[in-house]
Symmetry: C2
Subunit: 410 residues, 2 copies
Amino acid sequence: MSEPNTYPATSMLIAPGSAGIVEPKKAHFGQPFTVSCGRILPSIDIVYETYGQLNADKSNAVLICHALSGDHHAAGLHSADDKKPGWWDNYIGPGKAIDTNHFYVVSLNNLGGCAGSTGPSSINPETGKQWGPDFPTLRVRDWVESQRMLADKLQIAQWAAVIGGSLGGMQAMRWALEYPDRLRHCVVIASAMKLSAQNIAFNKTSRTAISSDPDFHGGRYHEHNTLPKRGLAIARMIGHITYLSDNVMGEKFGRDLRSGSFERGIESELEFQVESYLRHQGDVFSESFDANTYMLMTRALDFFDLAREYGDDPVKAFAAAKCRFLVVSFTSDWRFAPERSRELVQALIGAEKSVSYAEIDAPQGHDSFLLPVERYNQVFSAYMQYAAKECVSQPDDQHQPQANTEVHHA
Amino acid sequence: MSEPNTYPATSMLIAPGSAGIVEPKKAHFGQPFTVSCGRILPSIDIVYETYGQLNADKSNAVLICHALSGDHHAAGLHSADDKKPGWWDNYIGPGKAIDTNHFYVVSLNNLGGCAGSTGPSSINPETGKQWGPDFPTLRVRDWVESQRMLADKLQIAQWAAVIGGSLGGMQAMRWALEYPDRLRHCVVIASAMKLSAQNIAFNKTSRTAISSDPDFHGGRYHEHNTLPKRGLAIARMIGHITYLSDNVMGEKFGRDLRSGSFERGIESELEFQVESYLRHQGDVFSESFDANTYMLMTRALDFFDLAREYGDDPVKAFAAAKCRFLVVSFTSDWRFAPERSRELVQALIGAEKSVSYAEIDAPQGHDSFLLPVERYNQVFSAYMQYAAKECVSQPDDQHQPQANTEVHHA
């Protein structure tokens, strides 16, 4: 929203604490981008959003790294009648944990994504056709590299913090290793230094569901004017089950029926609430998410192994890190269990880094990192307030091209 | 093996403790079988095996109820060069927990199955075609009813014990409610009085994988000369992950690669051991198991709710039961967690029934009930020895048509 005065009525509709109406921007990088696998992308685009204002010495910028199916739209609304705010709106906004009154928040769609940044759905300039399955394999380090280029473009020499949950936490950790001078804080939420065999197994099953969908065509579904919706829906169903805890699914759905009754006993009519919910989630996702991006993201997740190049010793891996760390896990998260976060904390202690760790008692499983959880919010907010105090100058309108926050949250 | 002397050399190959070479039998029931949904099967066949010898007063018969993908072949071998023994060979045989020196063990393929008993792959005598998706919906009570008919045919008025793990445990519980005079012991292992929302969600995802496979054709794949192998493979992959614990998968596979290397980094070559394992398990299953049976079995599992007709009060449900109970759970079983068994034990205590409960510390997840676990074996053996002492007469060759156990285990 570059002209706030054209929306006089909408400010009434926007909840206090919202980052307001935000508009995605696109950064174009014309130079070739060499991917870690050795292949080259002739140029790349990165779509991103910003919330809050960059201060005079550019010391208050925070980078948000998204997870598997996330994108750049982390907070605020795209229009006044937008029904859903960004995916981390619970934690980004004025007065929230990542307080846009103090921080200039940058949130991007990862390279390889399907929300506007260069990815499998983009046109390969050399062929004039969509990349599809020929898009290069990416690793977490490639995301960090493209995020570093975005930081350079935005003239951010050092992030106040790099923050991510799940796969996003892996990016934050990789930042601490690759560019130790370029972040002061690393916030790693519901993540792990590497996936477990069970995690890989679930991802493999999801990918198999997609690749064995006859509409997948080896990833060339666009050429066949199809979409592997059935496979994507199944992948999403598996994801949803594993993002929630058994208990929270029980509380949310129990064994309630959506249709039919046991007394009538007509098989075709009987459907549990939880079945209906999953079916719906699968269908929605299969219409909106790109299958090749899903394959690429889950592969990057599987292959991430923080300490692999450090003799499998995470203490060695973190040796060069200079930032401080906040690590958060959730008791009911069985996809990225607290044990994985404790291993990370042990490694950081072994490497003599400053680390705060909170194991939050929350019933919502892995999804807790996205949801409003009081104790989590308290810990996260307190840590970020501490990080904000280090930012020398105060936010300054002159450095913020979109001065919309003043209008909506004053 | 009805003529043991024709296999003189093979007895050397059969391990001590094996039930020996066994042969499936088929029981035909010519009268119409009315299913709980009201539909009628004109006749049914039940395939079963027996191990050990029925004693003179027929008081030593034990019924084994199988789980989702099990069948009648619970112990022993089908031939001397059979590579795999029956699915519960760890616990059935001479000197084993279910000791065939004391018990006459009956193990059947459930109605609706795909290993020989009447099921969706059978010919509907009224149409001359396979039943396919038109096979009636079954509930756990239908299995109990067909098992009761088999008991009548074998002249077993009362089982020494009805025993089952997982879905098999549900059948054992239902026996205690439906035919309280016809069993002395009910052994319920790694089971639950009803599935949780998460359990249903996994089953739903598996069924969706099958039903959305274009080769499924609404269950009429035989008419199209196809098999929904892709869907079944995915269903099996999901099953396998949930039958094992995160820890045991980690120990078994870790992050070891099956092919390729991270240094070479050629994406198409890279495969984790756990991926290869799952792919293989899925492929094997998809060649051997019937998709309609899978749908039917998982629906019966989802809909089982022991106390539904008793005002959702399991104490009331068990009021009429007369047998004693052994309940066993495994600490790492997250599909049928110990909490579910504890609920069952509480209900049994509330109903003033005799119940022994063992929560076994085992790392193998739900699959523990099939695997050799020392403490589980001790508890199970001790309980069954106690049950064996109640059998008045000793096993008697005259009542056992297959006297093969003497030959191989003397």
